[in-house]
Symmetry: C2
Subunit: 413 residues, 2 copies
């Protein structure tokens, strides 16, 4: 945790009501940090289904491999998340530490080890002493409560400067269900592998396959649309747990993600994931500006996404934004380097509502002071029209500042 809270931190936090079937507790297991909570235990009622998407890294952490192997194998009865040690690049010891953690949690929760999901974030390459969870997880299970969301979000922080959570209520059929999510992340990787983790909980009764489709689609429109520095953690994890408790209140069992009864839920889930993903960007290391990049007119949505990401990941675009410089030349550069079909002479670029370039040239009508005013805002929109087709994408990023360098060039302590 940093002493200095991001200037883009939330002004207020939502009230997080409980999600039936979910209880939470946090503890100090002494993994690495002193004097702060570093472990989150989530108890899940019988029948809970889990789905997840994970880092595409070819060198994933041991917990990521564990979760992948156990998804869809049975239900989910517990989630254990620790901060301070990522248990990544820890060889056979890493796999053993995950198995030991699952074993301790399973005894605490009264379930099978493969019903336990695990995520770790923190230093890489250090063996994780899983025996520190002995006793701690049992104690957590005993005192877990339905309303410890703020504490849960804080327990999983590493270099985050503020806790991140969001909530929605939405109807499935005639029954209101809850969606609560927590997340951490600040830079795709921060000093010693910060990682993005997010966990969403609902009491909706949704079958595992449908749940998996929902989270995969949702990720694609949220966490896969944000970037801080283009780096990819070994440990990125986004999971969705459905306890099914709302069935007791009459919610229909959903077995197909495309079920029309799920329309509002799908939208609420996507909204919540976007909100969490945006909080990660707003806590981006050294961030002083939040940037929304819209690309339209590409030959396909995928093409638009790749162009948008090329802009969002360009250090030259990001430093220009940090300098409040409407340097559209760098946008042209980033469009060009994306490798996607683009016609220089059809490009149009807007900062906010001001069109600065059109038809492959500087817009002769634009007024520098108006653009300068846009660039001084904390939230900045960049819109690029490729002029070739109907493909669209929206991604979010932050600027690149000296503070990012200061955070990441520090010696490991």
């Amino acid at each position: 945790m940093s002493d200095k809270v991001s200037p883009l931190a939330p002004q207020s936090y939502p009230l997080m009501e409980s999600v039936p079937g979910v209880v939470l507790a946090t503890a100090e297991a002494g993994i690495k940090y002193r004097g702060r909570t570093d472990v989150l235990f989530v108890g899940l009622c019988e029948g809970t289904q889990a789905a997840g998407v994970f880092t595409r890294s070819k060198c994933p952490s041991a917990p990521v491999e564990w979760c992948r192997a156990n998804l869809g194998r049975g239900g989910a009865r517990a989630l254990v998340v620790n901060s301070g040690n990522a248990n990544a690049f820890t060889g056979v010891k890493g796999a053993a530490a995950v198995a030991q953690t699952a074993d301790i949690a399973a005894r605490a929760a009264g379930c099978e080890p493969h019903d336990v999901f695990i995520a770790s974030t923190g230093v890489i390459g250090e063996p994780l002493a899983a025996d520190k969870f002995e006793g701690v997880l049992q104690d957590c299970a005993a005192r877990a409560v339905p309303d410890a969301w703020d504490a849960a979000a804080r327990a999983i922080m590493t270099t985050d400067t503020f806790p991140k959570y969001a909530t929605r209520k939405v109807m499935i059929g005639d029954c209101e269900v809850a969606l609560n999510g927590i997340a951490k992340g600040s830079g795709m990787i921060a000093p010693d592998m910060a990682t993005m983790l997010a966990f969403v909980f609902t009491d909706a009764p949704i079958a595992q396959e449908a749940l998996q489709a929902l989270i995969a689609n949702g990720a694609d429109r949220s966490f896969n649309c944000v970037t801080v520095d283009g780096d990819t953690s070994t440990s990125d994890t986004l999971m969705l747990f459905a306890t099914g408790e709302a069935a007791k209140r009459g919610a229909p069992m959903i077995s197909d993600a495309a079920d029309p009864q799920l329309a509002a839920f799908r939208q609420a889930l996507e909204d919540l994931l976007v909100e969490l993903a945006q909080w990660v960007v707003r806590d981006g290391e050294g961030a002083s500006k939040f940037v929304t990049i819209d690309v339209a007119g590409a030959i396909s949505d995928d093409s638009a996404r790749r162009i948008a990401m090329a802009i969002a990941n360009s250090p030259l675009v990001k430093t220009a934004i940090a300098g409040e410089d409407a340097n559209w030349g760098r946008i042209v550069m980033a469009v060009g380097k994306a490798g996607e079909p683009a016609d220089r002479d059809r490009l149009a670029i807007h900062f906010g509502d001001i069109r600065v370039a059109t038809d492959g040239e500087r817009d002769p009508a634009y007024i520098e002071e108006k653009v300068a005013a846009v660039m001084r805002e904390q939230d900045i929109g960049i819109r690029v029209d490729i002029g070739l087709g109907e493909g669209r994408a929206r991604v979010w990023t932050c600027d690149l500042t000296k503070e990012y360098i200061a955070i990441n060039a520090d010696y490991r302590s």
Copy 2:
């Protein structure tokens, strides 16, 4: 040009002898800068052949399009390079400005416009007033001399902090030929599109197709192996001109790039291109460390290159190097995100000669102080063994410092 010279600048410069058939002159055309030269004119004797490789940007500058269209069409009699204006994203005006420049240069050199090659570097999106070259290029042609290499390298600088040139002498058959090269670049794109430009001149008699193969291969082992910030200019240009004047001294005419008589020349060309490319990295914006990244054991050379570039472009790796932190966790992260086949549990990582990780774990034998000493050096080597195959690659990069942000976050002036 920056006031502050890169700490990685050369301690001394080579003596540049002439290349028969090549004359150079520089001038102040007043394109953008005041009180410094901003145009280079190179006169080339009749029979000169030209070859080149250019940016892969989908939004290339007008001069890049001009050069591509005219390569192999006839010979090359003149090269005109201006700094201060990139003539990129300038629409139809841009193409007209290039044609006008070629026309003026052709009159000055007594050749056809399509025998004139052109490169521009500087601000993007501003129309280039090519009429400023009127008179200037004629004057340059009249006073061009064989030994103005230092002045030539200076005239094409933008944000460069030092001029870049290199020279080689090499035998073809029984005849010694010369290779002289100049380059500019500092950040793939610097404020207002700095761009990488490099021009190499030889008196060897080499046919155009062979020349094209030579420069394409050479680029692949030099300029395509360096990165400062992963951004790609609209204007990157590398050209090789062969005057053929050495034929008068008995050098054999070469029509095949694979001709065994060319073995030493090929090696000398590659060496020279690597030297020029490394000077660009050593003048990388804000650079304080020069980093050589070797990847071995990948499944192919291409795979090794992609892994090496993922490491070289990672902001987290680069900031760690700036902080003199042997943060091998970030190397693992970068290997993982490259998307290439890799087995976490076979990875080995060295900083200098110190192995810090092996078999998917921290090397228990490594001594922190020895690694710290390696990281304090100005030139740092990172070696990654993937452990899967025989694929190898070497790339060069620099660190990422607060100075990079300061340079690039400045307001456009």
